[in-house]
Subunit: 618 residues, 2 copies
């Protein structure tokens, strides 16, 4: 691709549906509850339906204008609950966009802001004394439309799966090992409610993000993945910023974290949120740090608190809060090979050692809970002391913080605030299980959300693979969401292709975990693929894969002709010899053998006992 | 890269050493026993030595002419044993190169053959009644130079590792879980001998392949990987064929399988063997099938036997022999989702059902053993009934064959013939351990050699990742060698970059397994990388990685300047804020804190008990 083409691609939203795919909706109990799925039409007439994170972007019937944002699918549900109110909101200040940097942009951002004035919404918050978290509703016994939506979404369409799952021998043999998860055959709205009430699952869905298509994160649900994006150094268009999101969810990002720093972060976050059908997470301390000119020790609780409210009003669905990085743990990191590698963790360490005071996120934790429940923002309790190398895995600092996150989880739950726990990082394979065990023990099954983990340190340029190994394993063991790692990890900023590579590697890890856990029906897509392979339905193989275009392009490299898409052979053995074809001969043989034996039996007068043939003759 | 450049690359051997790397040799007990390693010179003066599969190609001091072949490093050892003799060898016939195809080549191959006349060697075989297998020597209590070579090679240079492994807390915390393997602190030649004698490890080293740099495959040694290559449709030069090998071992292939089919396979195999420092494996039935024009049912024991001798004389180090595909197992495959997917397995199934006779490899197994021990060819007992989809994993057919391979292992061992066992294939994560358990049980710890396994089926284009997950896990559990899978698996023939991608993914899997098993010193390279990361030694990070050029190229994409190679920040956070830098502040703080406490202690008159500060003030 040449440079102008590449630029054009960046400036255009990717809206092409996947090959052979159509957006379909499963209808819920109310007219405005329609759960999107991707239906793949196979050449043999089968219809395979798969989980779809891509939102309306892959639906050609929906007109999208990034200056207006997506339709607020949850607006009616939120309004019906009648426990929120609109209000004037916090006054926006220049510093929200990192004032010091703004001048560089030559006024371009002002023009873009004016262009996107349609994205400004009046914020909403809980009425005085109300708690609008999904956990609070769940504990009141209320099944919200979000919960019903999720139940439908998690089940998928079981009809087509059944054909693949009816062989009793195969089902018994392939039975998953849930590793302690308790996954029901069918997800009911009541099950979703119960899991959220217990804190075993979270539904990140800020009341100011009505555009979100609800999804759930918990060990008894499908394993999810997160992709990270950041703002551009020089924004050329709103589409450019939104396209990063669209690209990430196209390939399967279940949530997206906006890790923007520097200038225009408030404004670009508006653009992303209003155009995002997936939950958006942030690390608010990044923006707070910008507001104090990048000087960690100048941070204050007031500035941080103001930033939380700013972002909660915009609609951020989950906040990474590094409240477990406590002062006494900081010296535990000095013997480490790689010290503190979390950006948030090191900001707070710097603040604490400068002031010789306890982490203000820890000391103000209950006040943070008050904000979270007024907007239903979910905690993602950050692991600021995660290991940055295999050498530091599972050390004193890491586990001291994890235990603190467990204590904080109890406090958050006391406030009915949804909570998940972030995990490492860099962990050799044999030390992964201990991470899961400790997390389950101390955090009482609050969803675990890990970065990888990377199993080795010597693969720069390939850390998406080094970490997909750890991610698949910990996903199987019970981690609910896997934060992706791209090939650029440790080296540079991921470009468009790196993002895709990272997401695909993590879709593989997540699906491998789902299959191993035995999530009902999850194996069916693999089985449909295998059937398509055996029947040489090449186009169906492409369509059923995680990346149809790449699969087709690879096939074309060896056998470019259209006719070979229907050919009953492939490039590995060529047309003369094909093992799959021989299998058909074997089947015919087995059947003939039966028929012949049957004829022999009849010819012999139907006696059940016949003389044994000498060995070697049969 | 443009087309002429690409062609030039294919026609030139890649001989450039890795960045900052030099070939060094560790001297053994005899002058001609020099074990090559790669020494990486770090910018801080450290010297890191790593296992080196690349042979003399990365040694600029060695002149290489592919028309003459590599120096026969083992020639003296073989001669000294005085148990072999040269002989005229089998008469070469046109059919060896797939006679029917030859005319197409317009005489080009004849010219190339003449050009490479220097590669023709007189074959060698065991003297009448002798057994020249490493297993036979081992069982006689003989420590061969090959065994000593391997001991040195497996240990690597422990001196530099020690610095990284001296922290007692860290070593206790990171202690590997060997999963039943018994890995000694130091590999001695006697240990190698004992493992080979027990059959728990193999040294693939045909006496007609004196060019091989000995290596070992066994659960108590480093996990190895295999890469596959095949001949070109139209051979343009000898370099072109040899370069595939050179490219594969450059990135870390421990052995290479030549899976050529079609024309000129005998001749290209000569070129590869004479130029290969790694063991070469083949699937002889592929060539035998060519000799009968691709008609499986026309195969005979005599044609197959002749092919074994042909290849043994050339120097092939291990043969995949599908002797476990027995007639009674064939009908077990009819209920499968994907039937028989092994090429060898389906050839034999076709033969058996056509003739309604038992597999001739099974019935002639002891005769095959006689050939193996006359040249020291190692068995790789093929899994012709391996599952071709997750749906078929661990089924009756697969495990029936595995039990048969266990029986055949006993027969091979009776003849002192080295034996490893091939394994799947497609296996969901939760079913991998059963594969290892069954193999260990039935094959009595004969080395397991698996293809992947692929953990899911829906990732065409990314099956190197889907399978690296399974490979890392089964490697940890005890698999001794991992056969790579490329991104083109299921889609087409791998090109140069696909081969590299597959190898790197498998080096990651193998190293992750070694670290998890706790192979002594294997973690040190990761630790050196982590230290380089923490100290912002960018060039050292590149040099220590599995693919230095890619790592550097990725770094350059964001920070292209040479000066940023020494910069104490990276593109992730930029120069203003750096978590690694903050860690240094933390260390200073911890030390100052100590100093301050110490000063306070002295100021207070050195009392050991001082009043406890109220909480929140410390």
């Amino acid at each position: 691709m040449n440079a102008p083409e590449k630029l054009q691609q960046l400036l255009t939203l990717t809206r092409e549906p996947f090959p052979a795919s159509t957006k379909v909706h499963a209808q819920g109990s109310r007219a405005d509850l329609r759960v999107p799925m991707r239906e793949i039409a196979l050449t043999n007439g089968e219809r395979v339906t798969v989980y779809d994170t891509s939102g309306p972007y892959t639906d050609p019937t929906v007109a999208i204008d990034v200056r207006q944002g997506l339709a607020p699918v949850r607006a009616g549900w939120i309004a019906d609950r009648a426990d929120t109110e609109t209000y004037s909101g916090r006054q926006r200040v220049a510093l929200d966009d990192g004032g010091k940097h703004e001048e560089r942009d030559g006024g371009r951002i002002e023009a873009l802001r004016a262009e996107a004035a349609g994205l400004q919404r009046t914020p909403r918050r809980a009425k005085a004394g109300a708690n609008v978290s999904q956990m609070h509703y769940a504990r009141q016994g209320i099944v919200t439309p979000e919960m019903e939506y999720i139940a439908i979404r998690e089940n998928g369409k079981r009809e087509w799966m059944r054909e693949y799952l009816q062989d009793a021998e195969r089902e018994a043999r392939l039975k998953g090992n849930a590793m302690g998860a308790r996954i029901p055959d069918l997800i009911t709205p009541e099950f979703v409610r119960d899991e959220v009430a217990r804190g075993r699952a979270v539904i990140p869905a800020n009341i100011n993000h009505p555009e979100v298509e609800p999804m759930i994160i918990g060990r008894n649900f499908l394993v999810k993945i997160n992709a990270n994006i950041g703002n551009s150094a020089v924004t050329s268009s709103i589409e450019e910023e939104v396209e990063k999101l669209v690209w990430s969810i196209r390939w399967g990002g279940d949530t997206v974290m906006d890790l923007s720093t520097g200038k225009n972060i408030h404004t670009t976050r508006d653009w992303i949120l209003r155009n995002s059908p997936v939950p958006i997470g942030t690390v608010p301390i990044y923006q707070a740090l910008e507001k104090v000119g990048g000087i960690a020790e100048d941070l204050t609780w007031e500035i941080f608190r103001d930033t939380l409210i700013e972002q909660a009003e915009q609609g951020v669905d989950y906040f990474t809060i590094h409240a477990g990085v406590r002062l006494p743990f900081v010296p535990m990191t000095t013997k480490r090979r790689t010290g503190i590698v979390s950006r948030g963790g090191s900001i707070l360490a710097k603040w604490m050692i400068t002031h010789h005071k306890e982490n203000f996120l820890y000391t103000h934790f209950e006040e943070i809970c008050e904000i979270m429940k007024a907007y239903d923002v979910t905690f993602s309790l950050g692991d600021g002391l995660r290991p940055g190398s295999g050498a530091d895995a599972n050390d004193e600092a890491q586990f001291a913080e994890l235990r603190t996150l467990g204590e904080l989880t109890q406090i958050a739950w006391k406030h009915d605030v949804q909570t998940m726990i972030e995990g490492p990082g860099h962990v050799p394979m044999h030390m992964i299980q201990a991470n899961m065990d400790e997390q389950l023990k101390h955090c009482k099954e609050a969803p675990f959300y890990t970065l990888g983990p990377l199993t080795i340190d010597i693969a720069p340029g390939y850390d998406h693979i080094a970490s997909a190994i750890g991610a698949a394993m910990i996903g199987w063991m019970g981690t609910a969401m896997l934060c992706y790692v791209t090939p650029k990890e440790h080296l540079g900023l991921p470009d468009r292709d790196d993002v895709k590579q990272g997401i695909i590697a993590y879709k593989i890890a997540a699906h491998a975990a789902d299959v191993a856990k035995g999530h009902p029906g999850q194996r069916a897509r693999d089985d449909a693929m295998s059937k398509a392979r055996f029947e040489f339905r090449w186009r169906d193989q492409f369509a059923l894969g995680l990346d149809p275009q790449t699969a087709e392009a690879y096939h074309d490299e060896t056998l470019p002709k259209d006719s070979s898409k229907e050919a009953h052979f492939c490039s590995m053995c060529g047309p003369k010899f094909c093992s799959m074809k021989i299998t058909q001969d074997v089947r015919d043989y087995a059947e003939q053998g039966m028929a012949q034996k049957s004829a022999e039996f009849k010819a012999q007068g139907g006696e059940f006992y016949i003389p044994i043939q000498p060995a070697g003759q049969a």
